[in-house]
């Protein structure tokens, strides 16, 4: 009985102790090593001349500030060598994510989908199974036109699906790691 009474008295004390106890510690900010902040598509004309750069950059990841998109103008009836660079700029030093994609080439593929522009794309690289990756590509422009170009990176697609090796995204499935759209003008 005595003990019970003591317990009863202890309850409010316990409550006060709870309610005035210390603040929650600061969380540890995670090291976002997987995030991709930047996609840079560099198109170099085969006949020489200055390269055209298309870039999608979102240094703080999803949310926060809006991404910065750099579009470019291309010359008509020209063949360009395209190279894709992926960066994670949240880390110091900056991490080159495209190396990771190259290391897991059998599990990745880029797709180039023009809309409204006269341009054709060809892959210029291959994984261990002989299927394309897309880090290196060729773009051939036709007559002057304007429209968009969507670049998609799929993770774990079916790279043997019908049309996949020629760049048709329809049947490949997988998860989208990147999907960016640029405005393109062919002059």
């Amino acid at each position: 009985m005595k003990n019970t009474k003591k317990l009863l008295w202890a309850l409010p004390l316990f409550a006060i102790a709870l309610l005035t106890s210390c603040e929650k510690n600061d969380p540890v900010i995670p090291n976002q090593e997987e995030i991709i902040t930047t996609l840079r598509y560099t198109l170099t004309p085969d006949g020489g001349g200055s390269a055209v750069i298309f870039q999608f950059q979102d240094v703080d990841g999803d949310g926060g500030n809006a991404p910065v998109i750099t579009n470019g103008n291309l010359a008509s009836n020209t063949t360009y060598s395209g190279s894709l660079l992926l960066l994670n700029e949240t880390t110091n030093p900056v991490d080159t994510t495209s190396n990771e994609v190259a290391n897991e080439a059998v599990d990745h593929q880029f797709f180039f989908q023009p809309s409204g522009i006269n341009a054709t794309f060809a892959y210029d690289d291959a994984d261990a199974n002989g299927n394309p990756i897309g880090l290196a590509s060729t773009m051939a422009t036709g007559a002057a036109s304007s429209g968009t170009l969507t670049i998609t990176l799929r993770h774990q697609p079916d790279k043997f699906a019908t049309g996949a090796s020629s760049g048709d995204i329809t049947n490949v499935g997988g998860e989208t790691d990147i999907e960016v759209t640029f405005d393109v003008t062919i002059q």
Partner: protein, 787 residues
Amino acid sequence: MIQRWISGMLPSFTKEGCPKGTGWFLFSVFLFPFSGFGQNCSLSISGSLADEGTGIPMAYGTVYVEELQSGVAADSSGNFRLTNLCKGSYHLRFNHIGCETHTVFIDLKKDTTIAISMHHHNELVDEVVVHDHHSQQETAASTTINQETITEEANKDLSEMLQQMTGVSSLRTGAGVSKPVVHGLTGNRVAVLNNGVAQSGQQWGNDHAPEIDPYVAEHISVVKGASALAYPGNSLGSVVLIEPSEIANDPHLHGNVNYVFQTNGLGHTLNARLEKYAKWAAWRVSATAKVFGDRSAPDYYLTNTGKREYDVAAQLEKHISSKWEMKFYYSLFNTEIGILRGSHIGNLTDLQEAIGRDVPFFTKDTFSYKINAPHQTVQHHLAKLQSRHIFNEHQTLRLTYAAQVNNRKEFDIRRGDRSNTPALSLLLWDQFLESVYDHFFEHDRKLKTGIQLRITDNTNNPETGILPLIPDYRAYRAGAFAIFQEQKGHVLYELGARYDLTDLQVVAISSSLPREIERHYHVFNNYSLSAGMRWQVLPQLKLNLDMGHVLRSPQVNELYSNGLHQGVSGIELGNPNLKSERSSKVVLTADWNVRKKLFVQVLGYYQYVQDFIYLQPESEFRLTIRGAFPLYSYHQTDATLIGTDVLASYEPIESIRLMVKYSFLQGDDVRNHKPLVYMPSNNLFGSFAYTFKDGKKMKNSSVSINGRYVFKQNHLNADQDIMPVPNGYFLLGANLGTSFKLKKATLRCSLRGENLLNTRYRDYLNRQRYFSDDLGWNVSAQIGVTF
């Protein structure tokens, strides 16, 4: 015979306010041995049965003596008397309609009087089906699921078991994850009480199932009323109770071993339970192991839907003196659940490609037990210590301390070797302290008061390398309640009030650079009021009216979510300006019993929720490097939920039972004049059961066939879903079961078939209906020994 019966003694030991109690004190039995000249075979056991909740005598219960294979019935005052007994050991089994079976062991040396308090399920909440004789079919139809059903269906998870009650549905994520929906509300709005302690996990997630092994429970019940004020938690009224029984006063070792095999997913479930009322303390241990492989839809395997689960629980009870009892409980729940590979998507384009496919992406044509990403692992520990003090005949005090630790990790398909690194990793701990004081007054009046304190602490583990979806937080809650009950003639009244103070500290990481720590503080003052009445209008008609006004404070996910929610392929934004939801609910139940052949229960409810919190799609899209994502944010509106649950059961002759159940529910957003999303479809269930006469060895043999029709959810606008609402569907099921009486044990065998027509269907409340068909046919075979 001298009746040394002190009627006042009984309530003081046994009244616990069930089913609003914590589930620990289901039965209390006290023996008052007589001194006298007991001759061999002229001894007697007499006593009476009373309702544990109210202390009111319970008429016409039965007492069965296992050793003699015979029994007697109690009279209209609940008194019974067994005579001409020999000296020796007896196991007595007490039954009363609407109650759990209760077993008592007596080592009979002289004439003995005992007081039995039965755990009755009807106390100002909804009603239990009552027919003359007890079979598991009828309890399954009620708001309570008993131990036999829990054991027979041990391969199901908690929410799937609850689904067989009218008015309860399951919100599912594929085959392995389901959470209960009671009268249209789920998640944070339904409190789940495991052994009297509010389950404290990551309840906010639609793909987070309650971390409870139902096998520990003696019964599982759902309180669908509006007045569950004694329960801690943050519900809008409805409460799910998982209640282990008190260990029977029996010095022998008893237990149960149970095995279930199921064809769909080639699943194995093994359970074991042992208990003994030893001299040093009463103890019980139980364990469950479940292993399932890929489930299958009618036409294909659901790749990566396997599951593993390993659970243990231990219970200790010690009567230190006649005035002091101590109880300890510990349980560990441990699971790993695969998520359908074809439901994992990167962005909106992937979602559009994946939805409505005939066969999901990544479907393999071979069966496997292997679980790959995406999958989730959860460990949940619960430890509880309870001390009960009986001051005198009328006053008892119960002190409870409980601690919980919940560790959840969710794994996605990630680049590099990161699929082995969780994409979500949360560690939550929770401490709970409660003091409940019961006072019984004269004239069947009872007052129950209590205070509750709770701290919940949630921390994101930075191992994920991903900014967290919900921030770290710590919540302090203090609550106090009082409930008054009075029985006046045929009417039982109940009044209750509750106050809760919540102090929430949120520590978030900014979404813009440079990353900064943002601290937010919220204080919520919530009160709740309830009133109820149970009126036995006629012997065959009973009415229940239950009204409640409850406030629920917004949860952390509703206030501060920030990020991509993979499952819905959308970005969810919390709203720090949310206010508490205010719910008013009225529940009216009528139970009508015609000559014990026809039983009809009609339950109607109306709930109005002011400032109902919901997720609304925004008109803008958020541009990310993975494409444009729809943006969802939390808003408040006013909602109404109107529904009815009907149950009718008919027994033309004792061996045949027909049953029909129907649930109707309509949810509306009255501020914006549109339906509420994710409301359960109306459904109709019918069954026909035939019970065989007990043979010498074979008992409780029955065969039944059942059908469930789930209507299409028509109460929804076309623009409220990304895919047309699935059609209605019909599922056929069947059960077959029998028990064999062995020397000192009972062997139970049963077969249960589900979706026997192998119907192709998709359910509106299954979040994976966008990607795949629901489960195909399944047969479960169960064998169990109880000794």
